[in-house]
Structures are given as structure tokens and as C-alpha cells.
Amino acid sequence: MLSRVADSIYWLSRYVERAENYSRFIDVNYNLALNEHGDETSNQWWPLIYTTGDQDLFRELHQEADRETVLQFLAFEKENPNSIVSCVASARENARSVRESIPTPLWEQINTFYLLVKSAARQDGPFTDPQSFCRSVRIASHTIIGQTYGTMSHNEAWHFNRIGRLLERADKTSRIVDVQYFHLLPSAADVGSSIDIVRWSALLRSADALTMYRKSHGRITPNEVAEFLLLDREFPRSFHFCLMNVQESMSEITGSKPGTFQCESEKLVGRLRTELDYTSVEDVVRIGLHEYIDSLQTRLNDIGGAIGDDFFSPQSRVTSSQFQSQG
């Protein structure tokens, strides 16, 4: 397939996934804020900005991090390229440029999504009902994922789409663990002490993980939350699960045998996935959670860059006819 098309299909799903994650962050935080008494507003909203990694831009645009500015920034700010409205607009622009390559119902759904957030962004005055907005964003995203799964051939394009979504998801899950863990558990000495169940549940809900966590671990403890969100093999938003599936899609694209690689991105994905396979939460705590997640994120970025080099802007090399017949 065309490199440009693969690139757009990859980014299309990354942006949709990013919008979905932001909507979940907003929703959970909003709910938490409703429980708050007293003047803890800025304490409450800053971590959310750190979770998205856009704190510098936020400072340029706003003076204080309160409910209104943060919601505006994450949902509707046009100057924020990662706000929900910007992400969905970028997803649509990518979809539009490859309209001939994606199933018609998928294009229609993305367009519907775009019209939904655009009309919500156009409202005057304060953002009155973030919960229902966030819910519709998540439903729209899931509809797109379903459309893609059910109407698009599971070919190369589909695998690029899946890789984009999973890398984005892995990134956001790791960020939320990093920032919220730091926020909720400032010192290592606190491990094992009594914890704020409401806030720890909120962390799990930020990844829509509460129910599944309860089923597999029962009581909430900081280490097991970290383990579940980073290392679980079955939960679809855990870092490890995402990497396992990225690797699977990658070898579908390259056709490499298990345990082998043909290009840089495949090597990096395979190496990270294998390490995760043999990592326990005790290892993570020993290294230091923040340091560990920091290195995970650096390596995710390297993978993203290598995918770009390997597939989206390939050097001039003429393919053999064998390769062509697979294309």
C-alpha cells in the first residue's frame, strides 16, 4: 500500500484514541471534583494537565488551572493540537485524504464524530454537561473501532490502523499511571499505608479498568494497580497487552517469523515486548516506577519514529516481484 495512505490510516486511529482517552480523563476528574470540599481546585486539576503532557502550552494560554480552564483546554481549545476537538479534526482530515482506501461507513462515522464535537465546541458560555459530552465521545470512538474491525479487510492497512491506536493507548495508560501514582503516593514510604480508595478507584476508572481490576485482584493496592495497568496480559488497555498486539500486527505486516525481525521498528517492538513478558511489578518498584515509565515512554517514541522511517518515508528501493504479489 502507499506509504502516505499507511501514514494517514495510522494517525487517524491514533487521534481517535487520543480523543477517547482525553474524554475519559475529563470525565473521571470531573466526577472526583464533585466530591471535593473546600479550596483544593488547583491541586485537583493540575495533574490532569501533566497526564496529557501539555503543561507548557497550558501555561501559555491560561493563568490558573481550574475546572473551567482545564476543561476548555482539554476539550475545545483550538490552539491545543491535542484537545478533543483538534484530535477529531485531525482524524477527519487524515480520513478525508484516504477516503478511497477506507470503508464508506467508517468515513461516515468519523465525519459524524467530527460534527458532534464541532457542534459541542461551538456552544457559548461554560461547559455545562461534560459527562454526557465525554460519554458521546467514547461511544463515537468505540463505534469507529467497531466499524474498522467489522468492515475493513484485516490487511496491511488495518494493521497499521491497529498499531496507531495501540501505541497511543499504551502511551496514555503509562502517563496516567505515572502522574496519578506520583500525585496519590508522594513517597515510597506510603506504600502499604492506608490509601484513599476514592482516588485510587478514579485512577483505575481513567483507564476504564475498575471492574476488570476488581475481578482479577479484588482489593485495591498501589502495587497491584500499577501491575494491572502496566503488565496485565489480558486487559486491553494495559501497556503490555498493547505491545503484544502491536508486535502481532507488525509481524502480520512484515511477514517475519516469530523471533526474527526485518526492520528497526520490528526489532524495537519485539525487544520491548519480550522484556515486558519477563518483568514483574517488584522489578518495576525496584527500578522506581517513575524511572521505569519514563524509559517505557522514550522507547515508545523510538518505536513511533522507526515506524515512520521504515514504512511511511521509505528510501528508494524497488521491490521484488515476490513482495509485490503480497501487496
Binding site: L2, E156, F311, F323
Partner: protein, 419 residues
């Protein structure tokens, strides 16, 4: 189309028709569409205009006339297919009782034609559609055609030329391209050959073309035959190459370059339609009876200053069809763009794009000027009559498929009443 293809081929090679003085040499040499880069070249199958859109109208004398031959990048065929799709959804029952010839095989025919015209040495040719990108007003059509044919829609930046072959950049490296249906104008096709500042095109694509390693449809330089000054000679062109009379009428056309004809145009400018020769999309047309004195004076000055750039035609009374506006039927002027594919054979789509001037009294039907469109039916001949004559059947029915939810159709008889 056969005659026009032979004409273009002749112009770039022996120029017999000019030597025989059937078409005056000045008309060709003074136009801006003849591409020096194409001299001495002849594309596969001798086809220059693979895809053409011929605009027809019906005048108040009841006759059909050819209004224009569009041989560069004629648009609109996607609307024909989409209109039909919408009509079948909204008027399913009407279709059930009719013998409407399907238009849906067009994408398949287009693909077949492209493959037929591939460079002869290639097995399993790979065809693509080349678009200027998402900001082009016809981008929808480009995606639609690529999707319907199942070929890649590429932009200039997706293609690269190496060793005089064209390749596209894929996730598995470079892959060779054999046939390009380009929807980019000649000027922007290759910065090495035409406009050096173009970023839409592909550097070196013309080298690959001249080397015979890729087919470009329509061929660069084909526009020489849809210059509006050349149009005046099309009946002669048909007689010259095919030794037969044209079936369709041409509109009488005055060439402003000719002193006598120019004099006539200047004297009768208030009753004529003046058209720039090198434009398309309905731009720059001055309609005498609908223009103010100062507009006509300005037009006359333009003609005197650049006579070769203008032709004039008598005001034709385009037929009208009933068109629904807020629940009320009103007459609106229409023309019909028919689509013709030329490959090993010539294929005329059994249908076409009826373009409607939505403004009352307006004769400008171009989509780029806010025109609407209607589905157009070609009815199959009765079962007992023989053969494949349906392409020539002129029984049509037209039905609106505008943005309003109301639609209407006339199932029999010729195109609406005259205004």
C-alpha cells in the same frame, strides 16, 4: 472521438490536416494549448483523449448541438453514478417498471480502458489515479473513481521517477506504475517540463512518458483539440479523417481572430455569447443579451486587444426541464454532459450528467458556477428490436436529485419543454 484523436495525433506528427488547409495553421499555432514537448510523439493505441466529456444541448429548433468538447480533465461522472444511486433509493418503484440502462459499469470500463492503453511491453499493468489533493474542488470525484476501480489514489509526492520509470512509494518500497489517470492539468504535471514552480506534479514523469514506460490519460497536449477556436472546425475534422458527416450539429462559431468575423461579432455583440478560448468551467463568458452596455463595451475592448483569445456564438435557447423549488415546479435550463471512453474501442456511457442552471433564466449550468444536476436515463429499446443500440437512444428522462428531499421524474418523452 475517433476523429478528434486522429486530429491530435496528426497535429503532433505530420500535420496533414494543416498542410491540406482544412484547418488554418494560424488557429493552431496561435493557441496556447499546443505543447511543443509532444511533437513527434504518438501514445499507445494512438489515443490522446482517453476520457472526454462532450457537452450537448437541445435548442428551440428541437435539434441537439454539441456545445463543447472537454478533453483535458472532464469532471462530473461521479455525480452521474451518485445521482443514480440516490434515485434508486428514493424512487425504487419507478425504476422497477422502467427499462433504464444502467450506468454502473462505468468504473469497470474506465479501468479496462486504462489497462488496454498500458505500455505494450507490460504484463499485469498497474493503474492509478493522480489527484492534486484534498483541496481540489473535484477531490470527491478523484476518491470516488479510485475507490470504485479499486486502484490507488496518488498525489504527486507519492510518485517518483527513476531510470525513466514511474514508481509509487509504498510501505514495501517502490512499486512500478504503468498507467496514470491524471486529474492535474498539463501545466502542473512535471516541473522539469512544464511549470517549474509546480509542487503538484512529478519531476521526470514526462521523461518516463516519452520513453514509453508509462501511459498518461489524458495525454499531455490533448487539450489542443478542445480550444474553443478549434471547436469551430470539428465538423471539418470529422469529414477529413473519417469521410463521414457529423451526426450532431455544431453551434455556429465566430473566430474573433478573423477580421471579417471579428467585425460581425463587434457589431452584434449584444446578441452573441462571447467565450474565452482557453478557459473552462464557465469562467469569463459574456452573454450579450444579459449584459449591460458597459460590460459589452469592456468585452469589445478585450476582443480588439486579444482577438485570438475569444470566440462568439449565437445565443442558443437551452431547453428547460421542470425543477422543484420549495414544492413548486419551475422551468430551468439544462445541458447534458456525456462521457466517452476511448481505448481499443469507444464506449459512450448510457446516461450522463444533466447540469441545471438553478438561477431563474440563467443559461450557465457549470457546477463551478453553482449549477445543480439531475440523473439522466437512457431507456433500453423494446425487447424485440435487435442489438446494442441503446447508446444512441435519445429517449431520456430526467429527475431532480438536489438537496431538497422532494424529487420528481418524467418517465417518457424528450427533454422538457422549451422556454
Amino acid at each position: 472521438m475517433r476523429a478528434l484523436n486522429m486530429f491530435v495525433d496528426d497535429l503532433y506528427n505530420d500535420q496533414k490536416i494543416l498542410k491540406d488547409k482544412v484547418v488554418p495553421r494560424e488557429v493552431i499555432d496561435s493557441g496556447k494549448s499546443l505543447r511543443d514537448q509532444m511533437r513527434g510523439f504518438s501514445p499507445p493505441q494512438g489515443v490522446w483523449c482517453h476520457i472526454s466529456g462532450i457537452d450537448l444541448i437541445r435548442h428551440s429548433d428541437g435539434e441537439f448541438y454539441v456545445l463543447e468538447d472537454n478533453l483535458r480533465c472532464p469532471s462530473g461522472v461521479s455525480y452521474v453514478l451518485e445521482n443514480r444511486e440516490i434515485m434508486k433509493r428514493s424512487l425504487a418503484k419507478v425504476f422497477g417498471g422502467m427499462t433504464v440502462t444502467p450506468v454502473e459499469e462505468y468504473p469497470e470500463r474506465l479501468l479496462e480502458m486504462m489497462i488496454d492503453c498500458a505500455p505494450s511491453k507490460v504484463q499485469n499493468p498497474l493503474a492509478v489515479v493522480l489527484t492534486p489533493g484534498i483541496y481540489n474542488s473535484a477531490y470527491f470525484e478523484h476518491t470516488f473513481l479510485a475507490q470504485q476501480m479499486g486502484v490507488e489514489l496518488v498525489q504527486g509526492s507519492d510518485l517518483v521517477v527513476e531510470n525513466d520509470h514511474v514508481y509509487m512509494r509504498t510501505t514495501r518500497g517502490l512499486r512500478r506504475v504503468d498507467v496514470i489517470y491524471r486529474r492535474i492539468d498539463d501545466d502542473f504535471l512535471d516541473p522539469e517540463c512544464f511549470r517549474p514552480d509546480s509542487t503538484l506534479g512529478v519531476p521526470g514523469i514526462m521523461r518516463a512518458y516519452h520513453a514509453g514506460n508509462v501511459t498518461i490519460a489524458n495525454a499531455p497536449g490533448a487539450g489542443v483539440a478542445d480550444d474553443k477556436a478549434v471547436y469551430a472546425f470539428v465538423p471539418e475534422v470529422i469529414r477529413y479523417y473519417l469521410s463521414e458527416d457529423p451526426i450532431l450539429n455544431n453551434v455556429p462559431t465566430y473566430l474573433c481572430d478573423d477580421p471579417e468575423q471579428r467585425q460581425y461579432v463587434l457589431e452584434h455583440i449584444h446578441e452573441l455569447v462571447v467565450k474565452p478560448t482557453g478557459e473552462s468551467g464557465g469562467y469569463g463568458i459574456v452573454i450579450g443579451p444579459h449584459s449591460s452596455k458597459s460590460e459589452l463595451a469592456e468585452c469589445a475592448e478585450q476582443i480588439k486587444a486579444h482577438p485570438r483569445k475569444f470566440v462568439a456564438q449565437p445565443m442558443l435557447n437551452l431547453s428547460t426541464v421542470p425543477t422543484m423549488f420549495d414544492g413548486v415546479m419551475k422551468p430551468r435550463h439544462v445541458d447534458l454532459r456525456s462521457f466517452v471512453l476511448s481505448g481499443k474501442e469507444v464506449y459512450v456511457m448510457p446516461g450522463g450528467l444533466t447540469r441545471v442552471a438553478l438561477r431563474e433564466g440563467s443559461m450557465v449550468v457549470n457546477s463551478s458556477q453553482g449549477g445543480g444536476s439531475k440523473d439522466t436515463w437512457v431507456l433500453k429499446p423494446p425487447k424485440n428490436s435487435s442489438g446494442k443500440t441503446m447508446g444512441q437512444s435519445q429517449a431520456q428522462s430526467q429527475s431532480q436529485s438536489g438537496s431538497g428531499s422532494q424529487t420528481q421524474s418524467q418517465s417518457t418523452g424528450p427533454v422538457g419543454g422549451n422556454a
